[in-house]
């Protein structure tokens, strides 16, 4: 399977995303989490900043949730944004990358790297 590398700052964790997979789904599949709410692009809680690369939303995101200005400035919703290729993202200061399942982090992350 062709995967994309999703690099998450400031922790510098790299996860392998599957084609068409929103970033938040990659995190959860790999045993990680960060701040999220509705998982459907409605609450805006999962905002992160895109540092490198580009993404496409997997479903419509309302401009009331993510304004065109924010989007132009690189703000993305992890529950909707699907990487177009390798990407680097930075979590906000009041957000943290959590490894909720070291088991998954170990086996999913490692096997997808090999």
């Amino acid at each position: 399977m062709v995967t994309v590398a999703i690099r998450l700052l400031p922790d510098d964790v790299v996860l392998q995303g599957r084609p068409g997979e929103p970033i938040l789904d990659t995190l959860r599949r790999a045993g990680y989490s960060h701040r999220f709410g509705c998982r459907r692009g409605g609450c805006g809680v999962c905002r992160v900043d895109l540092v490198e690369g580009s993404t496409t939303d997997g479903a419509v995101v309302s401009e009331a949730v993510l304004t065109p200005e924010e989007r132009a400035a690189g703000v993305r919703l992890t529950c909707r944004a699907v990487p177009d290729g390798d990407v680097t993202l930075r979590l906000r200061e009041d957000d943290t990358l959590r490894c909720v399942s070291p088991f998954l982090a170990r086996y999913v992350t490692r096997s997808s790297l090999t």
């Binding site: 709410g37 998982r39 459907r40 692009g41 409605g42 609450c43 479903a59 995101v61 309302s62 009331a64």
Partner: protein
């Protein structure tokens, strides 16, 4: 003179087709009309034309409709609202599809509410003459009816005053910061005999926390949870129980991120019952009785 119930919720959705699948296939509501970028749906045990209106574009609530018991109530409530001092206007028959004329007002929390007395009669599949207990071929969860809504805003106490002074509602339960600092953080308002028809949580104005559908019992709530797993519906929490209202529950999200709830097994409330009070230090138990702690989404995820 009385408000009988929350008659409709009109919400915004980002994708009408994804919403149709959620509300119609998963929740089992019936699409009664569509067009103009809107869907009108009803639960199987609702007699009126619709209880949910979905409008394409954005997220969150557009407005909430309360149905009053007599046509003459509208004038009286209009006067009461004017006296209370909120923005009130008349709405004409046909402003809302299949809905009669009424009174529209903006609440202290900046939500739009509409009072109306007439809506086209749609009836139910089981009918009103020697009916069976439920329609045999319900889809998905098969929600019978809309039950209540929880919204957020700053002036929680203002909402209490408005619904008590203008409409004669009562407060079944409320959350205060502490006995020494009795700021109201949440209130559960009853139009009649339910633990709540409308609840307000302290938070940003104009926002929707959730709207809820009633189910028969805990087994139906559990079965709804199974269907959410099958249909990949994001579950916020549950199945569990609320301390407040004692209802069993699942919070989940529609395809646009609006929070929905299925709810069952609350208690009967009366206007002469004392108000149950919860303090903020017990909020975890008050909201999610078993876990006894809030998840990080309850106080931060709104549309």
């Amino acid at each position: 003179m009385s408000i009988m119930r929350l008659g409709y919720v009109h919400a915004r959705v980002t994708d009408l087709e994804a919403s149709r699948s959620h509300y119609s296939d998963t929740l089992g509501m019936e699409v009664k009309a569509e067009g103009d970028g809107k869907l009108y749906l009803k639960g199987w045990d609702e007699y009126d034309h619709h209880s949910v209106v979905l409008e394409e574009g954005g997220v969150g609530a557009v407005k909430f409709g309360f149905k009053v018991s007599h046509a003459t109530d509208l004038e009286q409530y209009e006067r009461a609202l004017q006296q209370f001092g909120v923005t009130v206007e008349r709405m004409a028959k046909g402003d809302n599809l299949a809905t009669g004329d009424g009174v529209r007002f903006i609440s202290p929390t900046n939500h739009v509410f509409e009072l109306y007395h007439e809506m086209d009669y749609a009836g139910t599949e089981t009918g009103t003459l020697n009916p069976q207990t439920f329609p045999r071929h319900l889809r998905g969860v098969g929600v019978p009816r809309l039950d209540h809504t929880l919204i957020t805003g700053d002036d929680v106490e203002g909402m209490e005053r408005l619904f008590i002074d203008c409409f004669g509602w009562h407060i079944s339960e409320r959350v205060i910061a502490s006995p020494e600092e009795p700021t109201c953080l949440a209130t559960f308002l009853s139009a009649g005999h339910k633990a709540h028809d409308l609840a307000i949580l302290k938070g940003p104005d104009s926002k929707l926390h959730h709207f809820a559908f009633i189910l028969d019992d805990w087994n139906a709530v559990l079965r709804a949870g199974d269907l959410f797993a099958m249909d990949d519906v994001p579950v916020d929490i549950g199945p569990t129980r609320h301390g407040i209202t004692r209802g069993t529950t699942i919070y989940f999200f529609d395809p646009s991120g609006n929070r929905n709830e299925v709810f069952a097994g609350s208690y009967t409330s009366c206007a002469d019952f004392p108000t149950i009070t919860w303090t903020a230090d017990q909020l975890g138990r008050a909201v999610f009785y078993h876990a006894r702690e809030l998840n990080d989404r309850f106080l931060s995820v709104f549309t």
